[in-house]
Each structure stands twice: as structure tokens, then as C-alpha cells.
């Protein structure tokens, strides 16, 4: 028979590619580390605001040989000679940047975005010896060189849309069950439906929380409302959670479940119409992870059901999916960043998994402050790693 059966079939190409990419990323992390060591010893960092001062006196520049990393650099030219002069960066005979007519005793700043290569700098009078400017490759220049074209994101963006639509559909479906169970007065069923609705919502939260009106209707926390649980603006998931888990009844929740269903349906439709640009993926993931790490982990938001760990797991699953989608495009341009993100993702997942018992996650009020702190730190590290991605692939 054919070589392919269900169990022994060859892996899909994409999966193989992933594995290769991971190996490649690991190798590049080592190489990248070495490069960073070299760079830190010899090269002035190119961070904006960290200007390189060049003093011109007695017909010479000091320093006369400058090395910077590619990307934006700021130069402060101090004229300590007795006449006005100009300062130029030359590529062969071409002037890349210049400052003219710098008066004696005055300094001027000049910003230049430089590509890797060797340049000359003029130091005052034309017959003065020229200085050298050596521009080394940097993360910025590499990203630009390997900056993936917008087209490369087409597949991942489409797949992200598919993900959002699928999760959006699950959310609507589960909210329907929730609404039905509440209206039928079935508390246990309602609790189950509540939990199944929560998962897709949390998975698409990085996109969902962009719609402030819906977000405030679907997922407000009583802590931020003036009259807390008694506030009329206390609606959505947590209001229902309050009823199901604290009041232990479906009574009086009918209007809230009707409204929630309407709101998540609207959310699904709005997400469907989103025209998402590539940088929004990492941005959304970063923002969600950071806000979770900063606030939600410490205090929790599921005050009545104490199911925060499930929420976090769904959040991380969503972020993980988003990163997996970007990876094939980003891995060539930014192997180090991609590798770091994967490392941090594994860290967070491992941490969550360790908390999981045989019956699933424990009640969040049983998770002590130290554990919460570790979890928060790991999420923050993940957020930070994701925060570097857009710049590394030239999306900023």
C-alpha cells in the first residue's frame, strides 16, 4: 500500500520547517551572543540621545576615528577652533549628512541614520586630515536588510483572522449555551458554559480589548466600579460569575446573559471587520501580557470563581498562537528575538503547568503571593521579549 498511513505519515512540511527553525535559532543565539560581547567592547551604542561628541580644534577631530552601530546616531560637534567650519559625513564623494557654519565656540548636533560601511568625516577646513567613521552592522540594520516585505505577513495575518473568527464563533456558541442554561435555571450547566465561554474570550483578548465599549460591557471588574458589585455598569462575564459562584443562583442573570450574548456577537462581527496590520499582532500580545503581569496576576480578576489560572492559560495560548504565526516570517530577520520569545513562552507555560493538579487548576485564592510574583515576573519577561519583535523585523 502507499507509504502514508494515519500514524506513520510524514510530517507536514511546515512542522519540519519549525523544527529546523528552532535549531537554527539556537545556533544564532550563540552567534548573536558573541556578537553582542564584541559590540559592547568596541562600539558605542546607537541609542538615541546618547550622542557622540566630536571636538574640533587645531585642525583635527577628536576623536578622529569613530565607530558606531548602524541605525540612527546623534553627533554633537563642538567647534573649539577660531573660525566657523562645517562638518560632514562622506561616502566617497557623496555627502551623507552635514552641518554648515558652526561658529567658533558653539556646538551643534547632527542626526544621521547610517548603514553599515566605512565613511569619512571632514574636520574643519578642507585641507585638514579627514577622520574615519566606521559603521558596524547592528540589529537595526540587519532587520532592515532582512526586513520582511508586507506581503510576507499576508499568510500569517490571514491565519490570524481565521483564528479570531474560529475563537469568536466558539465564544458566541458558548455564550448561547450560557444564556440558555441561565434561562433554564440550570446552575451547573451555566457554570460549565461560563467556563467554556471564558476560554475563547481570553484567547482573543489582545484584539478584543481594543474595543473599549464592548470591553467595558463584557469584562468589567467590580473593583473599578464606584458601587462595586452593586454598580449598574457591572455587567458581562464577571456579573454572571458573581451570580453563579457567589450568589450560587441563576436568578436575575437573564438580562445579563442576553446582553453578554449580544455583546460577544457584536464583538465577533467587529473583529471580523478588523483590518489588522502586521505590527498589531506583537503589539497586542505584548500589551496583554504586560497588563496581566502588572495587575491581574497580583490581585486576580475572577473574584468569585477564582479561576484566574484558567484565564491566564487561555491568554498564553492566544499569545502563543500569535507568536507561532509570526515566527516563519520573523525568524530570518530576528532569530534571537524569536528564540527568546519561545524561551519565555515555555517558561510561563511551565510555571502554569506546575500549578495544575490532577483536577485542573487550584482556586486562585490558594495561590500564594510568592508564586504569584514568580508568575508575574515570567509574564513580564515574556512581554518584554515580545516587545522587541516589531523593531527587530522592521515593523516600527
Amino acid at each position: 500500500m502507499s507509504q502514508s498511513t494515519g500514524s506513520a505519515s510524514p510530517r507536514p512540511a511546515s512542522q519540519k520547517l519549525m523544527q529546523l527553525a528552532v535549531v537554527g535559532a539556537a545556533a544564532l543565539v550563540v552567534a548573536g551572543g558573541a556578537a553582542f560581547y564584541y559590540a559592547s567592547k568596541n562600539v558605542k551604542p546607537a541609542a538615541a540621545g546618547d550622542a557622540i561628541t566630536v571636538t574640533i580644534k587645531n585642525g583635527a577631530c577628536d576623536p578622529n576615528a569613530i565607530t558606531v552601530a548602524a541605525g540612527p546616531s546623534t553627533f554633537t560637534i563642538v567647534n573649539q577652533s577660531d573660525r566657523a567650519l562645517e562638518w560632514e559625513i562622506l561616502d566617497g564623494v557623496m555627502v551623507i549628512e552635514e552641518r554648515e557654519n558652526i561658529a567658533p565656540g558653539i556646538s551643534q548636533t547632527l542626526q544621521a541614520k547610517l548603514k553599515p560601511g566605512d565613511y569619512e568625516i571632514t574636520c574643519g577646513l578642507l585641507n585638514n586630515p579627514r577622520g574615519t567613521l566606521h559603521v558596524t552592522p547592528s540589529a537595526v540594520s540587519d532587520a532592515e536588510a532582512a526586513r520582511p516585505a508586507l506581503r510576507a505577513y499576508l499568510g500569517p495575518l490571514a491565519e490570524f483572522q481565521v483564528f479570531l473568527v474560529t475563537q469568536g464563533n466558539s465564544l458566541v456558541k458558548a455564550s448561547q449555551s450560557l444564556d440558555a442554561a441561565i434561562k433554564a435555571g440550570d446552575l451547573e450547566k451555566a457554570k460549565a458554559a461560563y467556563q467554556s465561554a471564558r476560554v475563547p474570550y481570553k484567547q482573543i483578548e489582545p484584539m478584543a480589548d481594543q474595543f473599549a465599549d464592548l470591553h467595558n460591557a463584557i469584562d468589567p471588574v467590580a473593583d473599578y466600579l464606584e458601587k462595586r458589585e452593586q454598580d449598574p455598569a457591572f455587567t458581562g462575564f464577571h456579573r454572571i460569575e458573581y451570580g453563579l459562584y457567589t450568589q450560587k443562583s441563576t436568578a436575575g442573570l437573564e438580562n445579563y446573559s442576553t446582553k453578554l450574548l449580544a455583546d460577544v456577537t457584536a464583538l465577533k462581527d467587529r473583529i471580523r471587520g478588523l483590518r489588522i496590520s502586521p505590527e498589531q499582532i506583537a503589539k497586542g500580545a505584548q500589551r496583554l501580557m504586560a497588563s496581566t503581569a502588572e495587575t491581574k496576576v497580583a490581585a486576580g480578576v475572577d473574584h468569585y470563581a477564582q479561576t484566574d489560572l484558567s484565564d491566564f492559560e487561555a491568554n498564553v495560548a492566544g499569545v502563543s498562537r500569535m507568536m507561532a504565526l509570526l515566527k516563519p516570517v520573523a525568524v530570518t530577520a530576528a532569530p534571537q528575538v524569536v528564540g527568546d520569545i519561545e524561551l519565555r513562552l515555555t517558561d510561563v507555560s511551565t510555571e502554569l503547568k506546575a500549578l495544575r493538579g490532577p483536577d485542573g487548576y487550584p482556586s486562585y485564592d490558594g495561590v500564594n503571593a510568592d508564586t504569584r510574583k514568580v508568575l508575574s515576573q515570567k509574564m513580564q519577561a515574556l512581554a518584554d521579549a515580545i516587545g522587541k519583535l516589531n523593531a527587530a523585523v522592521g515593523l516600527e
Binding site: 500500500m1 502507499s2 507509504q3 502514508s4 498511513t5 494515519g6 500514524s7 505519515s9 510524514p10 507536514p12 511546515s14 512542522q15 516585505a149 508586507l150 506581503r151 505577513y153 499576508l154 499568510g155 500569517p156 495575518l157 490571514a158 491565519e159 490570524f160 483572522q161 481565521v162 473568527v165 474560529t166 483590518r275 489588522i276 496590520s277 504565526l325 516563519p328
Partner: protein, 275 residues
Amino acid sequence: MKLKLTLSASLFALSAAILPGVAVAEVSPLDLVQPIADYKIYVSENSEKLVADTKAFTDAVKAGDVEKAKSLFGATRMSYEAIEPIAELFSDLDGSIDSRADDHELAEKDPGFTGFHRIEYGLFAQNSTEGLGPVADQLMADVTELNKRITDLTLPPEKVVGGAAVLMEEVAATKISGEEDRYSHTDLWDFKANFDGSRKIFDLVRPLIEKDEAAFVTKVSANFDAVDTTLAKYKTADGYELYDKLSEDDRKVLAAAVNTLAEDLSTLRGKLGLN
């Protein structure tokens, strides 16, 4: 009726209508996200349907129910045929799911001849399910694996858009002859699915070119309509007539439509700025 065009003017009009103009409409890659996402959903739905339908079909084969299996054959294939541009990206599965006898050196007797057409051969040419059990098991496993791989696949945009023409090229080159379903003669079911799959892609990207390529859009739609009208003549209660019922005139209408669609849709990738 008077045609007031000069020869050279009509030549120009011809070029404009049939051959694409030099200018390519500017379509931002981001405009394609939605159509491709929608197409992925379409593909996923079909691939899930394929799994469900194949289950029923292979169950009938394994139960030795020749008549039931025969009756399910044409319909089961449709969800595969509709998404063929994507399904055939996995050449190992395409080979074991949908290869024909003449893809194999020993034809029907070749042990590598598996999948739909091997079962078709058993059911329709030999009127028996004898020896088809393992083939049915494998087909089920293959479509299940296909469904899984499709879920994990990020659709290559040029394959999606190019798929509209690919489906027509396939029909033009190897199906219009009736050689695809040579034992069952259920070719019209396949045609319908191929045309629907192609039209789905066209309809999804249509809003992006409708403004700049109005004549093109009208022409392609008209040809799809012509195909639908022709195929509708052969619709039966539960599917389509056998291929030998297709009249010579209608075969020609389909052949011309499919060639014209293949010709026109071959410009779709370029019109959308995909290489």
C-alpha cells in the same frame, strides 16, 4: 447590427477584453488578508465535511454494501475536488487519496493504486467491495491526516489566488475528457465541485478588482454562469447525471468555458500583485 469599430480599434478592444492590460490594479497585500482568511475557512469546512462524508462512504465499503457505497461515491468526492488547489499541496496524500490508475505503472493492478479511484474501480468496474477494506481504512486515515494538516497550514497567498485558474486548468487538461471517474462516470459531480471551488476564490477577491477590472469581472462571472446553467441541466434529485449523458454540444460549451476561465483566471494573480 452594426459594428462601428475599425479593425485596429476592435483589435484594441479585443486586447483589453481578453488579454490583460499593462497596468496592474494596485492592491495592498493587506486587502488580501480577508479573502485569504475566508478561503481558509471555506477550505476547513470542506475538509471537515470530507472527513465526515468519507467516514460514511468507507463504512459502507467495509460493510460490503456495494449499492450504498456507489451512491455515496460522487458526493463524497466533492469536498475534496472543491479544495483541490490546497489539498494537492500535500503530494503524498494527494497521491494516495486521488491518483488514477494511469498514474501507476501496473495501472489498476498496481499496489500503489489506492484511494477514491481504487475503490471506484472495485465498486463500479468489479461491482464488489472485495479487498477494499484496507483501501477504505487508508483513505479514511488519509483524509483525517489531510484535515489535520490543513488546519495547521498557513495558506500561501499565491496558491490561493492561483488556485482559481489551477482548478480550471485541471478540468481542461484531464477532466473534460471524462477520464477522471472512468468507472463510475460521476465526472459531473467533480466538475461542479471544481467550478464551485474556483468561483469561490474568484468571488472572494472580486471586490478588490471590481472597480478597475469591471469588464474582466463581468466576463468571468458570465462564464461561471454559463457553466452553472449547463451543469444545471444535468442535475438530478441527489446529484448529477452520468458523464455519458452529457451531450456533445454541452461538452463543447463546458470545454470552451473552462478554457476561457483558465485563460482569464490565469491573470488573477498578476492583477492582485502576487507573483
